[in-house]
């Protein structure tokens, strides 16, 4: 069984489209010099897909995600959700960072309902709050403050907070990067469970190749300076995936090779 295969990007049914995006920053040392962070980025994510972006630091993964979230504008190029261009942040594109960034002054419950309050729909959708607290298994911590939570629990609250808005696309910027190895593997299953149960389109930045292979249906491999898309790899391994299967390890080797970490020959 061949696990990796390059694939042409399909045009129909895409939830998210990034079209020839280029991003320059003024250099922090000299404002006349501009640093090229991303160049020629084109990407499509099909509705309900779970796509991960892998690459060394400095390849602009986070910048790409921030642009999709609408927190930054591209220098040139366009970004689309369905048929709407992305111009500003919106509740239809949820974002989860490596740091859960829970509001420390809010209890778990208040954090999770933040999106409903922000959109002014808390009254109609209050019943959903308990549903989402339950979804991430934190019923007994509903009234706890964030500093009482472990890293994994905090990140589950962050996921629930983003999901309660029913975003069309959920952007995850190394969401499990700060967790220990065991919590991390458990949280990978948790995210997969949420994805499979809800069908939310997810774009997942990680620098953990195992995580990318374990979770995603496609892996976008980026190279740094300037950030470009090196290759898009389709992962066809059946779910639930076996972390130590031969196919898994084979694919892992291929990707390492692409990132120039493999053994020659």
């Amino acid at each position: 069984m061949v696990a990796a295969e390059e694939r042409a990007i399909s045009v129909e049914g895409s939830a998210l489209r990034v079209d020839a995006v280029r991003k320059e920053y003024p250099s922090p040392l000299d404002t006349n010099v501009r640093t090229l962070a991303l160049d020629g980025i084109s990407l499509e994510v099909a509705a309900g897909d779970l796509v991960s972006i892998v690459g060394p630091s400095g390849c602009g993964k986070s910048t790409l995600l921030r642009m999709i979230a609408g927190l930054e504008a591209p220098t040139t190029g366009e970004l689309w959700v369905g048929s709407t261009p992305i111009t500003a942040p919106s509740a239809e594109r949820g974002l989860v960072f490596q740091d859960p960034n829970l509001f420390p002054w809010c209890t778990v419950r208040r954090n999770i309902e933040a999106g409903l309050v922000a959109r002014g729909v808390l009254r109609e959708k209050r019943h959903e709050v308990d549903e989402f607290i339950n979804l991430v298994g934190l019923d007994s911590f509903a009234d706890a403050f964030p500093h009482h939570l472990s890293g994994g629990m905090a990140q589950r609250v962050a996921l629930a907070r983003a999901l309660i808005n029913h975003p069309k696309v959920l952007l995850l910027d190394e969401p499990l990067g700060a967790l220990d190895a065991f919590t991390r593997m458990r949280m990978q299953d948790e995210v997969l469970r949420l994805w499979e149960g809800r069908g939310t389109t997810m774009l997942f930045v990680t620098h953990d190749i195992d995580e990318a292979i374990y979770m995603s249906s496609r892996i976008v491999i980026m190279s740094p300076r300037p950030g470009r898309i090196e290759r898009v790899i389709e992962v066809t391994l059946p779910r639930p995936r076996e972390r130590s299967s031969r196919e898994f390890l084979q694919l892992r080797g291929d990707i390492l090779e692409l990132l120039h970490f493999g053994h020659a020959g």
């Binding site: 979230a69 942040p89 919106s90 960034n101 002054w105 933040a114 009482h148």
Partner: protein, 343 residues
């Protein structure tokens, strides 16, 4: 022996819980008595000092001080008898008895130095019995003064806080407000409010009005400064998260930036409280014809130093009560913070 119930927090999905079961603490019996008897012993000492030193003082003064010590002594003995039956009281007494006993001993030392050996010149340094007598004799006017001080302080403080919060939030959030407001704040703010008194006397329609404005000015500067820096230093990622949750500008300011700035805002409120006490007393001393500051000056004019100290003690109680109230409010508002300073 009382065993605390073991604390257990249910863990939802196999993940490690940060809360650890707390082992029941065992208290040794016998130990509490040492604390419980501290205050009665100190009272005995103070009474002995008073019996010896009080001979040189007026009978009316010595009597009220005797009663005062007697009440504290009686209460402390009563609590010492009750404490074995109530662990809450035990803990409270263990915490407070040493400091109360030290206070009573300090009263004794004070009396030895003043009424006893008369080491300090009279009438500037009366003994505790004399001060207590002044406090009791002048209770009507002292109560009235305290009430007027409270009125003046609360008007000035609240005005300063409200204006300070509004300007602080504007300067912290809006770049335009920062550009125009910051120079004014930097230039005018550091002037001590009391330095405006000559101007206030000329311009203002009444002494009370100018005192309110001066207190407000004294509070305004630290509140504005700390609020503005708190708002401006809101973690960018909190704002980013809120934006991706669909937040409007109102949500970003009132639900993210202001709560995030709350610890800073409270520092400003405390600093403002300190400057407001100072300004209140100065304003009452030079302009307003009521309040504790005025009373101190008035008693000093009559060389009644017992009343001066009585007023200082009332001021200490008054100001620290207000401080405690603000600290309590802070503890309520900032429950989400860990490791805050207790008052």
């Amino acid at each position: 022996m009382n065993a605390l119930p073991e604390l257990k927090i249910p863990i939802s999905s196999g993940e490690q819980s940060p809360a650890v079961a707390i082992a029941p603490a065992v208290t040794k019996s016998g130990q509490p008595w040492r604390h419980a008897l501290m205050v009665p012993m100190a009272i005995l000492l103070a009474l002995a000092v008073h019996a010896w030193a009080g001979k040189s003082e007026a009978a009316s003064e010595t009597q009220s001080y005797f009663i005062f010590l007697g009440i504290i002594g009686g209460a402390s003995i009563l609590l010492a008898i009750l404490q074995p039956f109530w662990t809450g009281l035990q803990r409270w007494m263990k915490d407070l008895c040493p400091i109360i006993a030290a206070g009573v001993v300090a009263l004794g030392v004070w009396e030895v130095v003043t009424a006893g050996f008369q080491l300090l010149p009279m009438p500037y340094f009366p003994g505790p019995a004399g001060v207590l007598a002044s406090m009791i004799n002048d209770r009507g006017i002292i109560f009235d003064s305290t009430w007027h001080s409270l009125l003046l302080l609360s008007q000035g403080y609240l005005l300063g806080v409200v204006v300070g919060l509004v300007t602080g939030i504007c300067i912290g959030w809006f770049p335009g407000a920062r550009y125009w407001g910051m120079p004014v704040l930097k230039f005018v703010g550091p002037i001590p409010a009391t330095a405006w008194i000559p101007l206030a006397m000329v311009v203002s329609p009444s002494a009370t009005f100018s005192a309110v404005v001066l207190i407000a000015l004294a509070v305004w500067f630290p509140v504005t400064m700390l609020t503005a820096s708190g708002i401006a230093n809101t973690r960018a990622s909190y704002l980013d998260v809120a934006r991706t949750l669909g937040a409007s500008r109102g949500y970003l300011i009132f639900r993210v930036a202001i709560p995030a700035a709350m610890p800073n805002i409270f520092i400003g409120l405390f600093m403002g409280l300190g400057t407001s006490f100072l300004t209140l007393v100065v304003a009452e001393t030079v302009g307003v014809k009521s309040g504790l500051g005025w009373y101190v000056g008035w008693a000093q004019g009559w060389a009644e130093y017992g009343k001066v100290y009585a007023a200082l003690i009332i001021m200490a109680v008054f100001f620290s009560t207000i401080m405690t109230v603000v600290f309590k409010i802070r503890d309520r508002v900032l429950v989400w913070q860990k490791g805050t300073i207790r008052w």
